[in-house]
Each structure stands twice: as C-alpha cells, then as structure tokens.
Amino acid sequence: MGDTAYLLFDVFLDTISFWWVIIPTIFLGLIVGGIPGFSAANTIIILMPLTLAMGLDTGLIFMVTLYCAARMGAGIPAILVNIPGTAGAAATPLDGYPMARQGKGQQALAISFVSSCIGGLLTTIMALALMPVLARVGFYMHSVEMIVVMLFGISLIASIAAQDMVKGLIAGFLGLMIGSIGTDVVYATPRATFGFLELYDGVPLIPALVGLFAVSEAFVIIEKTVIVNESAEPKKPSWHDTFEGVNIALSRWWHIVWTSIIGLVIGVIPGAGASIASFVAYQQSRAFSDTPEKYGTGHPEGLIAPESANNGVTSGTLVPLLVLGIPGGATAAIMLVVMQYHGVSFGPSLFEHSPRVGYGMFMAMAVSYLLMIFTILPLSRYMSHVTTVPTIYLAPMIIAFTLVGAFVPREYMFDMYLALAFGVLGYIARRTGYHVAAILIGVILGPLLETYFLRSLKKSDGDIMVLFSSTLGNILWVALIVSLVLPIWFDMRRKRRREVPAE
C-alpha cells in the first residue's frame, strides 16, 4: 500500500511538471469542444501525426486533458446560445440556456465549470480508488439492465411534457420514431431511410442536435435585440456573478457528488455514454427535488446534474479501458490505438507491467481538472458577453456555425441539409407548443434503447419475459417505478398541505 501511495505521489509530481502541455491543451479542448461537430476524438485523429510524435507521457497527458476540456467546452455554447456541441451536452441547455436568457450567463458558466471540475475530480479519485470494483459493473450491466437505465433517461420526456401530456408525448414518440430510422441492429434491414444511404446508420446526432436546438433558436431570437431578456436587469460587468455561481455550485456540493456518481457508474459500462448519463442524472435530480416545477426554467440544479454527470462519465470510461482493455467510447478507443503504438498493451496486466501508465492517466485527468478550474473560471466573465451580442449578428453566425458543424463529423453535404430540416421541424415545434427537448431525447436515446431491447430479445429468441429475467434488472425496474411514482406522490402531498385543490 505504501508503495502505491509513493508511486501515486511520484506520478502526481510528474504530471504537474507537464503543466506546459496541459494548459495549452485545455484551451484547445475548450475550443474544439465548443465547436459542434468537433470532439476530443476527431481532434486527436486530426492531430494524430502530432500525437504519435509525442513521447508516451506527453501524448497521454495531451489526450486525457483534451478529453476533459472538450467535455467542459461543449457546455459553453450549450448554455450561452443553446447549441450543445455534443450529445453529451444535450441536457445542459435545458436549464443552462434559460439562465443565460435571464442574464445569468456568467453565473451559469461558473456553475457549470465548478460542477464539471468537482464532479470530474471527485469521480477521478473515486475511479482510481475503486477501480477493481468499478470494473466489475460492466459484468452485471448487460442489455436487459441497460434497457431500464435507458428508460430512466427516456422517462424525462414525460416530466418535460407535464404541462401538456398529449403534446409532450407526441413530441417524445416522434423523436423515438425518428431515432428508429436506419438499419435494424440485428439483420441490418434498412427502415424509413427515404432511399438515402446516409441514413442507414441512423439519424446522425450532431445535425439533429444542432438543428433542433440551435438553428430553430436562431429563427426565434431574431425577434429580440439580444438573447438576454429585456426584463433581466442590465448589469455592470464584474466578478460578482462568477463568485455567486461558484457559491451556488459549492452550496449544492452534495448534488454534484451524487449526480457525478451516476455519471461515473454509467461511464464504466462499455458502450454507454455521456448522453445517457446526463439525461439520467437530470431525470433523477428532478425526481428527487423539492421543486421539480423549477426545472427547465433556469434552475441551478438542472444545470449541475448533467454537467457533473457527463464529466463523471469521462473518468468512468478510463476504467474499462485500463482494467479490461475495452474502450468505453470513441475517445478511449483512440487512446487505445495511440498507446498500442507506443507498445503499451491495455488489459488486466497493465497495472502489473506498466503501473505508471495506468495511474498516470488518472493522475493526468485529476491534474487537468484541477488546473482547469483556475484557468477557465476567470473566462466566464468574458464568455458570457456572447449573450449581449445583437441577434442580428448572432443569428446568422449561429446558423452558419451549426450548419458547418453538422457537416464536420462525417463530411457529408447531406448532413447540412439534414440539420436544416431539423431546424425547420424544431421551429415549427417551438412555435406550436411542442418541446424540442422531448423530440431530441427520443432521437438520442431511442436508438440506444432499441439496440439493447433487440439484443435482449435476440438472446432469448424473442421471449419478452427476458426483460424481467435478471435480479439486478428487476431491482432497477422497481427503482424506476419508484422514481416515477414518488415525485407524483410528493407533489400530491405538497398540494394537499397547501390546500390547493388538485387539478
């Protein structure tokens, strides 16, 4: 034990000495994370010749830092202009953007940065300490259990739809239906592709994401001169909002802790990802809140939950990569390639043969989060000015920026048209009282749910009872039902207390 502690300390000092790599990479990560379509994964690929030319230590620290910073960067446009740069940030604008519109953009950024960093740092330490245990999670979470996890996220549709259930469900199920476009995951028969090969692999997420949220938003904001509501009192630029944001986040430290643990646990399951984690965290946060009605209107907890969860995923994905040699996501897969290039082989023997590499990756992550909080918190004051740029300039820029972003991941012109089509759909939905977030949850989580569902059915040769065949699965089912019923019960009790007659 003492040896490990000494080794950890040594690795820590080593990692700190790479600050000159970490700090520039943080800024690079923030930028690529913020541009929709770019991500840590494709940036590493683009910079592959550079990455491979670096030494093992440098390359490793570079990739890990980029990964964390890109995750954090994706939250910035999500909060300020309603553009989630990646699917992992899709739950961030639910409460982040309303805050920005109320003139609390700076505060929202500070909350997001603090919860991301604390969530990320905390889960990194937990992942490091509990690695052997966490690595087992994937052994229990199979397709049946994952179906229930997905349903946690999808049940958010019902919560969002609370005001008008029928219209909310129409939006959510339309999203699920759109998400089912593409070949079925077992026999690869194309479905509803309108004859486009580009849709065989399903609806690409980034075009759907930016179309529904950002393009449609651009057409709405031009009614106003700036994003910030006129009702929000104009403020003199100061650090006050940043401190207030930090304060809000810190005073809700417990919220950060448990939502980031949701992210960590979902992150260690190979194949699951940040989008599921952030939706599930948001749903759970809302379900157990005293003020569920505030969610969606700019409630800090609705921002903390997805941001700490998706950073929890970041540290979580390292666990199966390092312990089992299974990359949990696209970025982890590329890390695997780069490490193999340097002759490091992942898997159960990693910590025997090259413990410094294994611990080094966690340490790099911890140090990045630590340095990140100091480097980017000050930026919140300047970044938030975006919301005061006149919309006559901002709207066209958002459109160009997002259409371009839609193109980048696959480099198909088709994806630009698709983003435009989703923009039109999103605009109609906004104007006529359908929730775009409900559509989006369907589009993102629908295909994942279907994958796990079909996999379970195929495994059981079509027996639907397979859904209730595992103990852990059944526990999760009960938990799901509880988390759906409890809020209703709480709500009724509260209403009775206030003696307000139920509707």
């Binding site: 592959m48 994937g138 190979p270 040699g325 299974i326 695997l336 898997g347 195929k458």
Partner: protein, 330 residues
C-alpha cells in the same frame, strides 16, 4: 486526409524531391501517374483500414512516385464508400477504393448495391486476417470442449460484430458440422464484440483476429477460422479445418485495393503500372517496418493479385448466398 498542413507540405516536398528521382518506378511513371491517386476508404478515419492504408501506401507511393490521397466515406457497413466510388469517381485509374473483401463483399450477398458487382474488382490484396472464436478471460467456458458440452444443454449466444461477417459464417459452418445451433448476437463492431465476451453479455464471440490480438489477455482464443499464423498471440488456437476435419475456406478480413473494371480495360498501361508497383511494394523490406509501426500484425501481410482476389470474392458471394436466410433473417 485531414492532416495538418505542415505534414502535408512536408510529404509533398519529400515526394517532389528525393523520393521521386531515386525510385526506379519513376521511369515507367513518366506518363502515369501524373497526379495524386485518390483512394476512397469506406470506413472512418483513424480506424483499422486507415492505419493499414497509411502503412501500405507509405511504401507504395515511392514505387509509384506519387501521393495517395484518402477520402473517408464511412456508413452503412461500407456501402456509402462503394456507392460514392462507383457513382462519382472517374474510371481513369487515378481513383481507387481500399476495402475489406470479407465483410464488404458479403454485404452484396445480403442486399445488392445499386451498381453491378462486376463493375469493379479487387486487384491488390494487402493482408489476410483470419477470424477466430474467443472467450472472455473469466468465462466458465475455457475450451472448445466446454462450448460443445454447454451447447447440449442450452443454445449458446455468440457475439459477432455484425451478422453479415465472415466470422458469423465461420461459427455457423461449425455449428452445421457439429449439429449445434448457435444464437448469433450482433454487437455493433469489434469493440462491442470483445466487450460482450469479456463482460459475459454473450457466451463467447467471433471476430477478426487482429482486434482479438489487440485485446491482449482479457480474452482467450479457442479456434481460428483459418491458419493460426501468429501462434502464441492467439493462444495457439487450432485451425478449424484441422480441428474438425472441415474444408471451409479461410474466413478472412482481407483488405485490398479495388478499381473500376472500366478503368483497367480502358487504360491497360496505367493498370499495369498500378499492379506491378503494388507487387514490388511487397518485395521491399520497408513495408514490414511500416506495417509494424502502425501496430499491424506482420504475419498477416499477404500479397494477392487480381486472380486470388476474384477467387475469394466468388467464395464469399457463394457462402453469403448459402447462409443468407440465417444472416439476414429473410
């Protein structure tokens, strides 16, 4: 390729100066190639095909005296890339496609593409990577015997990257031979297939061996659907044909360059330059070095010309047709 400009300039400068003059191939290449060769890769940048491509062309370009410019068109299990190649690329020998003859040809057997399959052909095979059967390190099934015994009691689930894949055919053929029914579960790609076996989502998995080797000791290989050319790296697993007295053709992931048939017919001289320099590449020891540097398995480098490729393609189409009901659910 989305290289940084620096790298690209560097490469261009390099190609333009020393390399070109020094290569013997340049004498023939005075007329062809006059410009860069565009290569469509029907999978994502940074993937296995991409690395393989970079390694191979880093040597081939010297023989040919020109640069190769890859364009990535992933999607629909490679269909998008082939459709773009057949539909949009000029058949002038300046446009090639670098595909995987195993799964991609099998695709055509499941659902025909919009072009005639005969309109293109593979002329240069780079490597052959046999598929194999493996279990997770902690699986209760640790030998082929375990698997055979267990399958007498229940239908075992088998992870595969997708249904229409040579590995799936391998396991179906084995099941046919032994009178066992296996339940194939597609796990969306190599990562998922390995994870499925390791975490116990499925009883065991089948996959191309290159990815299995990369997974290291978290998995154990029990059977190779072809020759085990790497021995220890695949746990000395036996060849399916030796172990079960079968005559199954090797179930391969086989990367190869293909060209429009029209291009080869209209420009026999250019096609000649391509095939001869392709063959020369294999004689250069630099290829092995480049291949190892991109973390490929050097034992799998395996030259094949148009004839070998045509033979393999025909075998894949035939097996695909035979197993179509099982693989496509039709």
């Amino acid at each position: 390729m989305k290289t940084s400009l620096n790298r690209r300039r560097f490469l261009q400068a390099g190609a333009a100066s020393g390399l070109v003059l020094a290569t013997p191939g340049i004498v023939r290449a005075a007329t062809f190639p006059e410009r860069n060769i565009n290569v469509i890769i029907p999978t994502a940048e940074g993937g296995g095909a991409d690395r393989n491509f970079r390694a191979f062309t880093s040597v081939w370009k010297e023989k040919l005296g020109t640069e190769f410019e890859p364009g990535y068109y992933p999607g629909a299990s490679g269909r998008v890339g082939y459709e773009v190649y057949m539909g949009k690329s000029e058949p002038d020998c300046y446009n090639l496609i670098f595909g995987n003859m195993g799964p991609e040809v099998l695709n055509w057997a499941m659902q025909e593409p919009s072009f005639a399959i005969d309109d293109y052909f593979y002329f240069g095979r780079v490597d052959t990577d046999p598929c194999c059967l493996f279990v997770g390190a902690e699986s209760p099934l640790q030998s082929m015997e375990d698997i055979v015994n267990a399958s007498k009691e229940r239908k075992l689930t088998v992870g595969t990257s997708r249904m229409a894949h040579p590995a799936s055919i391998g396991i179906l053929a084995l099941g046919e031979k032994l009178g066992i029914e296996f339940n194939l579960i597609p796990l969306q790609g190599g990562k998922g297939t390995i994870a499925g076996a390791v975490t116990g989502e499925v009883d065991f998995s089948v996959l191309t061996s290159g990815s299995v080797i990369a997974a290291g000791d978290s998995v154990k290989t029990l059977l190779v659907f072809g020759k085990n050319r790497v021995g220890e790296a695949l746990d000395n697993a036996p060849d399916i044909n030796d172990a079960y007295d079968m005559t199954l053709p090797e179930m391969l992931s086989a990367r190869a360059f293909a060209i429009h048939r029209k291009a080869a017919e209209d420009h026999p001289d250019r096609y000649e330059v391509l095939t001869s320099t392709f063959k020369e590449t294999f004689e250069d020891p630099a290829l092995l070095k480049a291949y190892v540097a991109e973390s490929g398995t050097p034992e799998y480098l395996n030259y094949g010309g148009a004839e070998e490729c045509a033979e393999f393609m025909a075998a894949m189409l035939e097996l695909g047709a035979r197993y179509k009901p099982l693989l496509s659910g039709a």
